[in-house]
């Protein structure tokens, strides 16, 4: 129905965006009737979202016409942004941003580089950027989950950790179990994605390939390839970041630096 009113793709897209926004605003109005006020946040998010994605789309138009080597800079920029965003999950931990950036660069960067070298990812900028960004974005999410879980575990077990330190334990050893459980927890979404592939969800990449006329069987197999690459890069990122973050929660004098409050950490309420 909508297509008959709009004759250019851009106008059609804007109309689609307006209808989708109206639907989201309808939910905001519904929430308001239940005394849940999302108006400001939702309005800002919708405006910001459309502006950001249009800017990115415009940049992509330029980049996709440029030489292949520009993809390296674009992916590096994405890694820097991903490191900064996922470090917010553990901002109390000293060096979290540096560790996140290094881990994502190593995990996502290595997988993207090796797969491109092996020919699994096409070197064309139109292929390496979307696939690389998916790998980086998932590594970012996994890293954020791992750091967040590790932070929570350390805060929840500060008493046990300091008891072990007080008995002369090696600091990194006292948090090793929490690092392991963080890696496991952070990889659950990636593993579940692989498990439910094609049953619960048909990812966007496969949908795009089908819409652009690719062989459905090849689209399905390539989607598996991408999800498997995401699992590999996420796993590597999570392993590296939790390995590096273990030492970051201790000072040079082997003191736990995460603070639950003033130095009553590890004590019972009201105890000083």
């Amino acid at each position: 129905m909508l297509k008959s009113f709009f004759h250019t793709q851009l106008a059609f897209g804007l109309a689609q965006a307006a209808i989708a926004s109206a639907l989201a605003l309808g939910v905001v109005v519904l929430a308001r009737r239940r005394n849940i006020h999302l108006e400001r946040d939702a309005a800002i998010a919708l405006v910001r979202g459309i502006v950001q994605i249009v800017i990115v789309g415009s940049i992509l138009i330029l980049l996709l016409k440029g030489p292949q080597w520009t993809s390296v800079f674009l992916l590096a920029g994405m890694i820097l942004a991903a490191g900064s965003i996922s470090a917010r999950r553990a901002k109390d931990i000293p060096g979290a941003q540096k560790i996140s950036t290094y881990s994502i660069a190593a995990g996502a960067g290595l997988v993207t580089a090796v797969m491109t070298w092996a020919g699994v990812i096409d070197r064309a900028i139109t292929s390496i950027i979307p696939v690389g960004s998916m790998i980086i974005a998932n590594a970012m999410n996994t890293n954020g989950l791992a750091l967040n879980r590790f932070h929570s575990e350390v805060m929840a077990h500060a008493g046990e950790i300091e008891t072990a330190l007080a008995l002369g334990a090696v600091p990194e050893d006292t948090v090793a179990a929490y690092a392991e459980s963080s890696i496991h927890a952070s990889l659950i979404p990636a593993i579940d994605n692989l498990r439910s592939l094609g049953i619960v969800w048909i990812p966007g990449l496969m949908t795009g390939m089908l819409l652009s006329g690719s062989n459905p069987l090849y689209a399905a197999i390539y989607q598996f390839v991408v999800i498997a690459m995401i699992l590999a890069s996420s796993g590597l990122t999570s392993l590296l970041s939790t390995l590096m973050i273990r030492a970051s929660v201790f000072s040079p004098a082997d003191q736990l630096v995460l603070k639950a409050g003033l130095s009553t950490r590890g004590s019972l309420p009201g105890h000083q």
Binding site: G159, T163, L165, L167, G168, Q255, L262, S263, H271, Q272
Partner: protein
């Protein structure tokens, strides 16, 4: 390697010099100087929030002083490797935080960090010192509160500390268990010349078991002396 082994036999084992710690513009320990003599039980008393536990955490360097320092056997404790320092200055907290497993594994934890393995006989001897000779293989989850605190004490003693810090070790226990642990601590000090610094909010307990008492308020050391001098008869 630098160690804290006592060779001089001095009567003062540990002393602090203008020890202070500031957290977020608040002085939680403020210019505190005192000494601890060999074989004494020094009590730290004061109201909630007076800096008692914060002081204890500074003594084994679980927290870093903002200024001032601690001397152990006459040596600035910042010159000692932190892990060796904490072997020398043991700590027992209000909650025992026993590690999952049995009692023997908990007792072996500290020595294992230095590559030492406690023999079965040494484990039994430690448990006899804390009045639990038959609990070697008992899972810690099956211990009562009083038993857990005794195991925590034995675990700290397994490191053969020069000084033992006790942070309200009886405050989470019922009356009977509290009396038992209190007697045990006093007995260890009297019988084995163990040097202890104990935080307590219980003035009666301080009067019963301490040799000397320091009174804290607002992070400052405001009074010191024997229990009789400070708390009255």
């Amino acid at each position: 390697m630098t160690t804290c082994e006592n060779t001089a036999g001095d009567s003062v084992v540990l002393y602090t010099e203008h020890l202070s710690r500031r957290v977020e513009h608040q002085m939680i320990v403020d210019d505190v100087s005192f000494d601890v003599r060999r074989g004494e039980l020094l009590g730290i008393i004061g109201p909630s929030g007076s800096g008692k536990s914060s002081l204890l955490r500074l003594l084994n360097r679980l927290d870093e002083p903002t200024s001032g320092t601690v001397y152990l056997q006459g040596q600035d404790y910042r010159e000692l490797p932190p892990r060796e320092l904490r072997r020398c200055i043991g700590m027992v907290t209000q909650r025992p935080f026993l590690f999952p497993g049995n009692v023997a594994a908990n007792l072996r934890f500290g020595p294992r960090q230095r590559g030492e393995i406690l023999s079965d006989e040494e484990v039994t001897n430690l448990l006899e010192r804390v009045g639990l000779p038959s609990l070697v293989d008992r899972e810690v989850s099956n211990l009562s509160g009083g038993e857990q605190q005794r195991v925590s004490l034995a675990r700290a003693l397994a490191n053969r500390p020069e000084v033992l810090l006790l942070d309200e070790p009886t405050s989470a226990l019922d009356e009977a268990a509290r009396a038992g642990v209190e007697d045990l601590i006093r007995g260890l000090v009297t019988d084995t010349a163990l040097t202890c610094v104990q935080v307590t909010h219980d003035r009666d307990q301080a009067r019963r078991i301490c040799d000397r008492v320091l009174v804290f308020n607002g992070g400052r050391l405001i009074q010191r002396g024997t229990p009789e001098e400070v708390l009255g008869a």
